[in-house]
Symmetry: C2
Subunit: 724 residues, 2 copies
């Protein structure tokens, strides 16, 4: 139990019991527990053991060790409504150690979430196709705030949820009207404190003073490989304090419900985010207690039986939930509905006193953008050559300025990515003097991974309430990729503005020049990778990304200036993925595809082929493969004409992989090497993207294609490297 | 200057001058410097300013601020030999903040590295194709230990270099023979302390007690977006101490050469890795000093002129290096050669006293494996169905056990990845009692990214001295991807053993089931993604990866048991990327490609199509696209027969993207959704990989193909999803 005087709560609160050593600690048995609590903990653990044993799989040990934390949270501390699970002012719970999902599923069942029936609970690790108990929590299901599993993501999502709440509270709360007052609770294991994205999240949340966030550390000192001290011997409490967190330690986390309740409550009144270091025992009270084998496998029938005997349960009966345990949680749905009722009553008053704010809140609660948002996008652009990263700024700036839904961040590249706007304010803790929580521009620091993961949290707070935008160089979206994927997987609308997207970025060299990265994002499910070729197409790219309310997108732009292909490019064309720029009579010699920063090169090559070599050349702009795949087959065929025997060649300064579906050949980057540090134009030239060089190779290919019809099934890479 | 009594050196050394606040500090002018040092610092800064101004680009400010650190290192502290740059016992210097590369290039020039002529130095940001001064340091060039640029990678590489040195020292050093005694020096900026991979590296290095590693923090409190406190307000010194580091602070890092020398020397005698927090001023003494604009752009002609005036240089002359500055560094090549001479003399004695050790050392120094290494690989395998992850263990275990070159690690999945071996010892600091530095099995913790980045450092220590092996679930190689890429980019031989590589991994669900990830690794330059189908092919995969001495590889294996396709699969076939499993007469109805865990399904489908439907079906195993691309065109055509009009269908439980080059259709995963949490066999069934379902769809496709010759140019995805 936590010692110290908890009524004396302030930002410096720190209650330490015992030491942070990895020494043993004794389970205190039922000390300090009511009879009902004692029975609940024992029932919970036996049930977890049964559920894993049933199909001989799953992760029992962690969930068993964390039982008391769950009782403290769901019974005593969290504000939520099992029968109105989407109530917007509910506290959010994130299980960052998602493999212990049975922990959450079981509490969802006991506390009365309607979908989580006992039958459903028992489907964990079954082959039931409509199960609500997958191997990791999934956002689609009642009571699950974010999908977790890949470690470190959940804690970063929780940071995003806490920022969402701070942002809404700063914008909408008024004296006497705490419309937004939810708290974010996040459970982590050892792994989330080892993963880089988790460490980025900790540092960032500490800086942001997110005192509406409590992280509970299931400190069982056991990982798959064995004791944590095989790989980690740091002083975690000191590290968290150095990162700006309030730290509380609970020595007997398996049983000390009261201490946990006091600690959790205390954390709601801290000036800093709170880290509760809860010492637990994995697989507590079983024969594998404190052992790595308790982590990721059923504990075995003998061990289950022994546990039941120890706890006074009948070893021959499975899935027993005594009536007293059901009674213990019975009041919770009703309590939740009362919370919802009170909140709605307050909101009704609020609507009378602050009608404009309430209207804005209600619109965003409905997930809507103002109906005229498209009118904010420029209809035309300056005629001078413009980098598409700058075009992105021209297109998005007015949207960001006007629409409170957009939370826009950058991984320390504000001067390069053009994602800021005139009147922007930074999202910062007010006490630092660099912004406030009403700000919507986020300096993520050089932390691309957490930028994307926090953005997922912002988007997950409530559907459509926020549209997070991230920004960095395209190459660094490889750092962010695990979180970008999680956004797509969860159908979260997050827009990633990636600049410097080709060898045209120049001097920074091969480490910064993407070659293979587009292949990942073009293949990623439920994701749009859009590479516009000029300002007009950049407008189309943003429109497509904003309209994709249940997908994540990446808009991929150039560092260097690109000519405006005015009269050729069309924003409506971008919406279809690919479209004909320059048409030709039925019998063309070539369909030439240009993409993104290389679109203008394709247009120039086509002109050369027409004027100097007499070829009939069609040109196609192809900013997004996924959008093109969504078009009807006839449209796709009309655009490419590949099936009519016209050779199709694509020009793009990436590896060709992925273009084989649409083209017969590619002027592309080789996959035998990476890029090269040279000024942008010189880099293009070095890798054979000068117009003359491309014309020569494409002519050669067209001749080959017509002369060797049987070879048309082979895809040809037309690469050229300066020094080879 | 560092205060305190430095002769009193111990593990607790900590000398703090000033505070870690972000307040201003005054440049001390020439206090404490010799006249020569003073001139060197000023010349260096003016030269940096000139070099960036010349082509109006580059990163001047950081390099200028770090000048004194460079003088302390290259003149006074580091052991190295400019004229024998690959001397194996040299200290290694890693510039983790790689954008400040001019810092390193200029010291390489001044200290006498022969390739780095003054003309070369002046090629920074030029369009010179054979320049040695790319925008970030590149490993191919003299004096550069690792390629850096993507932030956080360098510090993780430095950890790997330090582990390499520890490992060699533990194995080869004997009383009186410190054959291995090099120290690793790593320069970082704010960003490397924000990036997750950097934070993983810090935690891991602290645990590993790598006291042969010194990290110098160029603490100028400025990033691209402005002051660091926009995004980071943590107490970095306290954080480093919590992570097990020795911390030294230098308050006047722009000028305090003597203090820096004392701190650097002290760090060599610490029991812990050392973090030197060096307070500097970005763009010191210029009109943009302390300003973000000094970071990533030339400072402007006026500012350059003013700096020259301040320092007493002629504003009209560029690239001036006074003779006194040349003299200051003149002795270094000779000093270096003396070090090499002494080391060789000691090694000659060592060879006499410890001939076996010396022979082993010399062989590894030459980068060679024992000539009979292939004989360690089993020639046959048990006939029972075996997961290819287990096959990996059968193949690699004997190699790991016998060959000291292999340093094998796992990101906390030892029980799952089968990369351990009977007599393995953990690489651990001896004082923890969990292993020693002679151990070759590394528990990286749940830190996939640093696992790959550290492995790059191990491989970069000396060509071929180590072959690092990493292991985790395939999906988590998305976390590791930025470092995996850096290994491929640097031609480092690192082998990544990735398990659980398809939906067959089952219950862990969509977050753990790869769909799009193979597209990334198949496209990555200089990289082998190899997906074997049974034990025999797994042998082939390891042989291919081990023979690729200048590439990185990923061996992608199944969680679930796969039947042994004995008599069909061939390890020699894997070496060619793809090969015919079952041939057919000239006129076949179908070439059916199977890949990895789905190879056995393709074989079963082929049998069904032959026996029940009378089709003539050829089967092809296709474990590695990159190796196949390296084969002669005729071989490739003979394997696929696509050009003869035979329809080619591939069976793989990934997105089809990338197979269009080889096949006309794919039985594959859809890209409209991610996977599903179900037991492995059920997951295969859910996504249409039951034999019956595949047979039906492939038959339909073959009929379509023959009936619609004009449609043969279109690629067809044969997907099926259970609940749609």
């Amino acid at each position: 139990m936590v010692s110290g005087i908890l009524s004396n709560i302030n930002s410096e609160l720190e209650v330490v019991v015992g030491k942070s050593s990895q020494g043993d600690w004794k389970v205190k048995g039922t000390k300090g527990l009511t009879a009902a609590e004692d029975l609940v903990l024992k029932t919970f653990r036996v049930l977890i053991a049964d559920l894993c044993q049933q199909f001989n799989g799953g992760h029992p040990g962690g969930a068993m060790g964390m039982a008391a934390i769950g009782v403290a949270l769901w019974k005593y501390v969290m504000n939520y409504a099992p029968h109105t699970p989407d109530w917007i002012n509910r506290d959010r719970f994130v299980l960052s150690n998602g493999h212990t999902c049975l922990f959450q599923y079981t509490f969802l069942h006991l506390t009365g979430y309607k979908d989580m029936t006992f039958e459903q609970l028992k489907s964990y690790h079954s082959d039931r196709v409509d199960a609500l108990c997958p191997g990791h929590p999934e956002i689609e299901h009642q009571g699950i705030e974010v999908t977790t599993g890949p470690l470190g993501q959940g804690i970063a999502n929780a940071v995003g949820l806490a920022m969402a709440s701070k942002s809404l509270a700063a914008k909408f709360n008024r004296p006497g009207f705490d419309i937004v007052s939810d708290h974010i609770w996040c459970m982590v294991g050892d792994a989330c404190l080892q993963e880089g994205v988790g460490l980025e999240a900790i540092s960032f949340a500490g800086h942001m003073r997110l005192n509406n966030l409590t992280v509970m550390y299931d400190n069982n000192q056991i990982t798959c490989d064995g004791p944590v001290n095989l790989t980690n011997t740091e002083d975690i409490n000191a590290k968290m304090r150095a990162c700006g967190w309030n730290v509380i330690e609970i020595s007997d986390g398996c049983w000390d419900v009261l201490g946990l309740v006091e600690a959790l409550e205390a954390s709601k009144h801290s000036a800093l985010p709170t880290f509760i270091n809860v010492h637990t025992v994995i697989g507590v009270d079983t024969s594998v207690a404190g052992n790595a084998v308790a982590h990721g496998a059923a504990i075995g029938t003998d061990a289950v039986a022994s546990l039941k005997q120890l706890y006074g349960f009948d070893p021959d009966r499975r899935f027993v939930v005594p009536e007293a345990v059901r009674d213990f949680f019975k009041e919770l749905p009703q309590r939740g509905e009362a919370m919802v009722f009170r909140w709605r009553a307050i909101f009704d008053r609020y609507r009378e006193v602050y009608p404009t704010l309430a209207e804005d809140y209600t619109r965003r609660h409905g997930g809507d953008l103002p109906s005229d948002w498209e009118s904010l996008i420029p209809t035309e652009f300056p005629s001078k050559a413009t980098a598409t990263r700058a075009s992105s700024g021209l297109v998005f700036g007015p949207l960001a300025e006007s629409l409170g839904q957009f939370m826009v961040g950058t991984a320390d590249l504000e001067p390069s990515v053009y994602m800021n706007w005139k009147t922007k304010e930074n999202f910062e803790p007010p006490e630092l003097g660099t912004g406030s929580y009403t700000g919507r521009f986020i300096h993520y620091g050089v932390r691309e991974h957490v930028m994307a993961a926090v953005s997922n949290g912002l988007a997950a707070y409530h559907p459509g309430m926020f549209i997070p935008v991230t920004s960095s160089f395209f190459m660094f979206y490889l750092y962010a990729a695990p979180a970008v994927r999680m956004g797509a997987l969860q159908h979260l609308q997050v827009i990633h503005a990636a600049t410097h997207d080709s060898i045209g970025m120049g001097e920074d060299g091969p480490t910064h020049q993407p070659i293979e990265l587009a292949a990942l994002y073009r293949t990623m499910p439920n994701f749009l990778y859009i590479r516009p070729g000029d300002s007009e197409e950049t407008a189309g790219a943003w429109m497509a990304a904003i309209k994709a309310r249940h997908m994540s997108s990446l808009i991929s732009t150039s560092r260097h200036a690109l000519p405006q292909l005015t009269g050729l490019t069309r924003r409506t064309g971008v919406a279809r993925g690919a479209y004909v720029l320059e048409e030709a009579p039925q019998k063309a010699d070539l369909t030439l595809i240009g993409v993104g920063a290389e679109l203008n090169l394709a247009v120039r090559v086509a002109t050369e082929l027409r004027t100097r070599h007499g070829l009939t050349v069609r040109t196609v702009s192809f900013p997004c493969q996924r959008l093109f795949e969504q078009q009807p087959p006839q449209y796709r065929r009309d655009v490419l004409r590949k099936h009519t025997g016209v050779p199709v060649v694509v020009v793009e300064a990436y590896a060709a992989n992925g273009w084989e579906r649409y083209a017969n050949a590619a002027v592309c980057m080789p996959t035998t090497r990476f890029g090269k540090s040279l000024p942008g134009p010189k880099a293009y030239e070095f890798f054979g993207f000068s117009v003359d060089s491309m014309v020569t190779r494409i002519l050669g290919f067209v001749n080959f294609f017509h002369a060797n019809p049987e070879m048309r099934v082979e895809f040809v890479e037309l690469t050229s490297v300066g020094d080879e």
